[in-house]
Symmetry: C2
């Protein structure tokens, strides 16, 4: 008990951030969150990094838990004024939230790596857990729809996930490298958690980075994934529709199949308890528990249940 | 009466913006405001243009008349968060205000001239008067103090004008050109007004641009200046101390002497009526009236008095 050092969490935005906050609260060990950056986008000349910021805000306690993104109580005056000046402003960046993108863009222009920028920001915000962008290189999720190939945020925010998805491309993924920090975290991790984030566009890019999937496959860590699909539906976001569009069964089993070569344990919601035998029949273990994280307490409870199960509490 | 077309106003921030708003309200003619850009600065990688924005906001009715700068009712969440992230945030940019700097920086990076950016912005904000940055080229006021040479905003905002001023340098002024729009406005103007702005750091850079002073000197327009010094004190800002530091009498007469070769009429506050004979003795006319502009009505009244005096109302 308590004799291991690193819990590594692979995370996208909301679901991952919540589970990470839960682990950060209950684990006595170092928690490292490896965060998707393929959702990053340029707005108004600023580098916006939605998943990283959601993790930062959620872990610092500044986040808007209810809404899932942005800073609690933030205002949108800058966004409104940009609209008044005739710019597209469908990507709603809050006023305080904008400071993070200004800060990041400034630091990047000064030659810092994205990893360093996030490290400084999390320290400034008093976050104890390490937050690692999956890569310092540019990767951009492009959503192939019937009528166009769309940058992810256009599909996700501007078009509210309405266009039918034919496929997803991670532009730049071949040339992108996971950072040394990410590789080190995965190598030293004794527990690797794939958060309940979108398997296609949040976890997909991380696992597609050169060497990452193999590293997890060969890892001696306890490796588990929490299903973001409950009862055939995603808690938040378009994961269910995306999975279906890509020919993957939009269930916890469908998610499991995406990770079957790299996990030992699948965490299912109690609503999906009947699916456990299908996964156990494949030689894996299941944790069946409530996976909803409406608040910080529920996130902590889920993290505790997981740690308890892997003998770490 | 009313048969002329252009009133050109040379302006810095607050005082100039208020008088310009007065003219914009009462004049039937085209009002063009030529605005100092030597106060411009880079903050967080953004091009901030305080005088131009003060004019834009004051003329659009969005301005904070009381405070003199920024947008009425603006919030400062972004500014606070930048501080929380460890950046210097003594230059208080409001949240809506920030949108203008984001917009400007974006447009400039896309290759637009500053003049075009301001033209688009003033149209977007419904401002009828033309607002012309004095130059599209970079000029930066540097304040020479006993201990350091300071960028203007550092002297003005961060150090609250406290250091003793030894001199002022307009970095880049030799290579900077007034825009074609500025030259055209001055050539076609039938009334040229030097606003009650700081003669050294607001009006000084405009008049120092190649050809501008000569153009006004040779102009057939009615040329007048409104003193920013009343009773030996500046209404706002460090003009009085700056004048004194530079060996210029900090009175309306001292200001007059700076402009004596390029104006026909000096506008003095009633408090300074006793100074009128000194200026009239130099062969110039004086308008003695209340020059304080606490609100939009007083600004309109002052503009009307001036237009009335030059036979244009």
């Amino acid at each position: 008990m308590g004799c291991f050092s690193v819990i590594a969490i692979l995370s996208g935005g909301v679901g991952g951030a919540r589970l990470a906050a839960g682990f950060a609260e209950v684990a006595r060990e170092e928690v490292t969150i490896i965060v998707n950056t393929a959702d990053d986008e340029e707005f108004y000349g600023l580098h916006v990094s939605p998943d990283v910021d959601t993790v930062l805000y959620t872990l610092s306690g500044m986040g808007d838990w209810e809404r899932g993104w942005g800073i609690g109580g933030d205002t949108f005056r800058c966004n409104e004024m940009l609209g008044r000046l005739g710019l597209e402003n469908w990507f709603k960046i809050g006023d305080a939230d904008l400071a993070m993108s200004l800060y990041r863009s400034l630091m990047l222009r000064q030659g810092h790596r994205l990893t360093e920028v996030v490290e400084r920001a999390r320290r400034a915000l008093g976050v104890k857990a390490r937050i690692l962008p999956m890569s310092d290189d540019r990767v951009r999720t492009m959503v192939v729809t019937e009528s166009a190939v769309l940058p992810f945020q256009q599909y996700f925010v501007k078009l509210r996930c309405e266009p039918k998805v034919l496929g997803v491309v991670f532009d730049g993924i071949e040339g992108a490298r996971p950072t040394e920090e990410v590789l080190e975290a995965l190598k030293t991790a004794e527990v690797i958690v794939i958060a309940p984030s979108n398997p296609v566009v949040s976890i997909g890019p991380i696992l597609s980075l050169r060497g990452v999937r193999e590293l997890i496959r060969k890892s001696g860590a306890e490796r588990l994934a929490v299903s973001p699909i409950i009862g055939g539906k995603t808690v938040k976001g378009p994961a269910d529709r995306m999975l279906a569009a890509l020919g993957i069964e939009p269930t916890a089993v469908g998610v499991y199949k995406l990770y079957s070569d790299i996990i030992d344990i699948m965490v299912l919601d109690t609503e999906d308890s009947k699916l456990a035998p299908l996964i156990e029949g494949d030689g894996k273990r299941c944790i069946v528990t409530s996976t909803l994280m409406h608040n910080r307490d529920e996130a902590a409870r889920l993290a505790r249940t997981i740690l308890d199960h892997v003998g770490r509490i």
